[in-house]
Symmetry: D2
């Protein structure tokens, strides 16, 4: 099967290439970049110098001759490109946030941009594979979840679906490596400003908030507004979402672990830790896993859920390929079975 990658010079794009190159059923047919068309990818990323020469093509929808197109583009681009890609009969997997919010006005509010056309928006399926497999199987257009929503939603799903937590009590304190901010240069990602430093950003304003709430409410419509904070950590890859919620009844850590193990028993990429054991971000580095640790605190009646992913894999490229696999009817973990790199 032929695939094209649009936006290959971003971190999400080049990570797609790393995985797709070894995918047994896929051939990367063309790679595209709006800013650097004409040169070879190895001029932008010397680490791929030994690979076949990937020439960066312009983004010309007409000229794309693939079965599936991955869009790893900044906000506002895929909402423009997707309708014509779909019209050509191609399948689309979009790693940007453009098609994740079903309500265009919500998109407009949080992204400060024009939403995609309603008819293509309607075709978009939210690609959180673990909880949307059936819809993905029949989809032509996938809105690949955001990095923070992936960690958060996988961490919250069993509790919300079973209504074990107070719907108004959810607080998510998320920590991310700097690669989540992309490759564009700015003072915010300057090494000397970021190293030996923890920063909080977009307090109560992050565009992933409505994405998380939308999915939570698809599981339990009574879920209230969540508190969601994002922190920049001096590391390159990795997200940890530390999630707090009040339970509706006394529990135990043991019960929690059992619930999660049962909920994810058919999910190859979600690993539930035993009671007393919590995952660190490094333990999923470079892999498509989401590891989850759990604790119930009798003193407070609250649960603490710790959910970690590699933001560029399960939070972007890896999950996009997982979506491809499901959409194509292949084994869900095809080409994605690497052990995390440690240390």
């Amino acid at each position: 099967m032929k695939v094209s990658i649009i936006g290959v010079t971003g971190y999400g794009g080049v990570e797609l290439l790393r995985w797709l190159k070894h995918h047994p059923h896929v051939e990367v047919h063309s790679v595209h970049s709006s800013s650097q068309a004409g040169i070879s990818l190895a001029e932008v990323y010397p680490h791929v110098v030994s690979e076949e020469t990937w020439i960066l093509h312009e983004i010309d929808v007409e000229a794309i001759n693939a079965d599936v197109v991955f869009l790893a583009t900044p906000p506002g681009v895929s909402s423009r490109l997707t309708p014509s890609l779909l019209a050509k009969g191609l399948k689309v997997i979009d790693l940007s946030g453009d098609f994740r919010l079903q309500d265009g006005s919500v998109y407009e509010k949080w992204y400060k941009k024009t939403p995609p056309p309603a008819d293509s928006l309607k075709q978009a399926v939210y690609g959180l594979v673990e909880w949307n497999r059936e819809s993905i199987r029949n989809a032509r257009m996938i809105a690949n979840p955001g990095c923070y929503p992936t960690a958060t939603l996988l961490g919250l799903a069993p509790l919300v679906q079973h209504q074990w937590i107070d719907e108004q009590s959810i607080i998510v304190d998320a920590k991310s490596g700097v690669s989540g901010a992309g490759r564009n240069v700015s003072l915010a990602v300057h090494f000397s400003e970021t190293n030996e430093n923890v920063k909080i950003y977009k307090v109560n304003e992050h565009q992933h908030i409505p994405e998380i709430e939308q999915m939570l409410r698809s599981w339990n419509e009574k879920i209230g507004a969540i508190t969601f904070s994002t922190h920049l950590i001096p590391m390159t890859r990795g997200i940890m979402a530390t999630i707090y919620a009040k339970t509706t009844k006394p529990l135990s850590t043991k019960t929690l672990v059992e619930l999660y193990k049962e909920s994810y028993k058919d999910c190859k990429f979600v690993r539930i830790r035993e009671a007393g054991n919590f995952p660190s971000t490094k333990e999923v580095y470079g892999s498509n896993y989401c590891d989850i640790g759990l604790s119930y605190d009798e003193r407070t009646g609250r649960v603490t859920v710790v959910s970690v992913i590699d933001n560029l894999v399960k939070g972007a490229a890896g999950q996009a390929i997982q979506n491809l696999n499901v959409m194509m009817g292949w084994e869900e973990d095809t080409g994605l079975t690497s052990i995390p790199i440690y240390p």
Copy 2:
């Protein structure tokens, strides 16, 4: 005035020395180490090689000939040493946790150690200067606050004291640099295990929980059990406490900032950021400041308080010297006025 430092080979101890060396009213009279007595400090820490030769003395209470003794020792040591130091008529500033909990049984439960004798415990004053100045002025024995409690309590004080928050709603998500774990070697502080990694530890079990709750309840006895989590961040120095609580009434970020500015208007080391501006840990690096940023979220009715310190300065050595200054009747910031090191 002559001071002695017991436990000078730990990070807290050597940081005391860095500050005390420039303190205009203090002479460091002797430094002590149980493990490495007999050699010079420069053999343990080559970065002090140009200073006068500090010989490491054994910890012999009888031989100590100073006015004030700083104890920068592991848990369990100062509870043993302090009674005899006090009996000699010396003043004691203890950087360990031994004398922070007024109830010996609480200490025993969280520290798994024998508490200090009740009569010396009774003399201990909790050295959170900003809120305990009067007691510190008359104290002979100071229990210097823990690093996490310092950031957390300064971040919560105005809200708790004014009863603006639901007493059962406090959640503290704290992030710390690795130096907080001390100089002892272990896999937990191994570079290859810590770099490019975020880890959560002691979930719902950290010994700083009762310390925080005790002080909060001194301000509002209805404060319930708090949820408190600690994360290890790949940096050396710095703590950020991100604090969440439900307010008892609608507020605004502007009102919050005003409350905090008013509450801390006489506190040289607490800096309140304007609305929309949040501190990062690097912005207090190497200094005795605690910087606080605030946000009220109308969607959730919750406040987010961001409180940052340098764990070895305001969270340990700097605050200890601030206590010394108050105890001695000197200007509170004597010898402590450095601008943070940036970047």
Copy 3:
């Protein structure tokens, strides 16, 4: 083919597992640890929790039932185990330094340990695949090169073999990530002592010096003593060897690049950069590549060679598998073709 890994709980051992798990012709039959036998590997390394349950076995040569044994053990262990493994008819690939020096007395001098028995030493082939392929093909026992020697020798080989440099002029300034020091705990690998720091160590005393000189002299016996320095860099993985030498005649960077491209034209894992382009360690992260950049300086008549590897892959586990592939007659890059992880 069945393989066993002895010393799987070290960083080299667990990296072997990461690669071997995906190797198409290999089954990892047993894993062994002297220190933690009896438990499962996931208890030591939670990041492998989703894999089959690898129980850590004791190191009992009699009980090993594999075709090839990888030894990822500290100095002194493989010299003891190898003779009996060979006697059982097994093939051995040793990642330690025990069998790299052909002269036992040199080993004794630099390693301060008893050398291996002469007869098993004689069977050992130095596994620098790019320059020893033929011997490796017929070998039963491989001494896998050290991390520093790999980067250095690949960087120097064409110049030394063609006698383009003054034999007495070689200086190697090497920089390594901390994982090269292994997983044992010590102050030298403590995060707070290593982060924001560059340290030099074992000045003129590193045990890799005789290993490098031995191979250089196999190419040109007139090569004199080299100056070789090693620095610890605040990163986990990666080695850069910056190599300086005086040329025997005027050259140009262009000529150098041509020589290297020609010398390595059949080597899949050595990538020569164009003139003006130098590799960084991150550009080979997680891969088996050795990237080399070159410069000739007319002002000084010296060449600068920059050679980078991932110390745990091309400098350890990856090269060991490359040796396995050659020894077995498989394609040299079988199971080793990953694109580096970037960023």
Copy 4:
């Protein structure tokens, strides 16, 4: 005494402020920025928010009303400003490279910029205090040495002055933290590209090469072209220069240490380590020290000199203040006596 800082929003400028604020004889009278004039410094650097409100002034030479002006500006600026500052009778300390090279044509070649006017160039004294004290005492215009030249020249001075090394044999392998590249944003200082990475840059082309050679030749005119390489290390502050040279006669490490101790016996900021002990960059972090370790290798007849500084202190702001002290006839270490921050 009143001083002004031009270019205060760069890292060198804000570091000047950190030190000058505590200098007993100095008042910072005005701070200037070409790019951000009109706002307060705390808007650019929130870490100074508690200090007096420093308003950023435009760079208007006529309006500057101070005794001494520090120029912490990019190349090409001070060559333009200095003549009129001198004409006003002010003293000037320039942290840029504009006035370091006595020969304008050499400046033009390496900096690719127009050199300063010859008459103001003639007034510039190279501010390597340890070896130029007398000239500095009488100077009106100081060219503050570059960060790499400071570490390198202090490391080489005794050997070159005593002609103990082969004049053609000097090789300097330098490693720097990222703050040396300044605060401007670029891919080269992007965290995700810099973290977990070592990069070499400007191979054989660094503009500090002629600066080093000029000073070496003032000590021994036979010194030939040096090989000098610079590497970017994933840390914020610190430079290590590892220096190699052939000796003209057999030595011992002990003799080397004695020579250096004698050479620097009156230099408060140069600390010579005992044989077998080498400094790391962290051991001078945040201080004005230059620490030097030495080794003579009998096998090769070469010395290895390890010289470390904090690039923003001894390599920039600290040394500039040291120059001020000497120029004013104050104690050389006035306001500069901090113990390094460790860890």
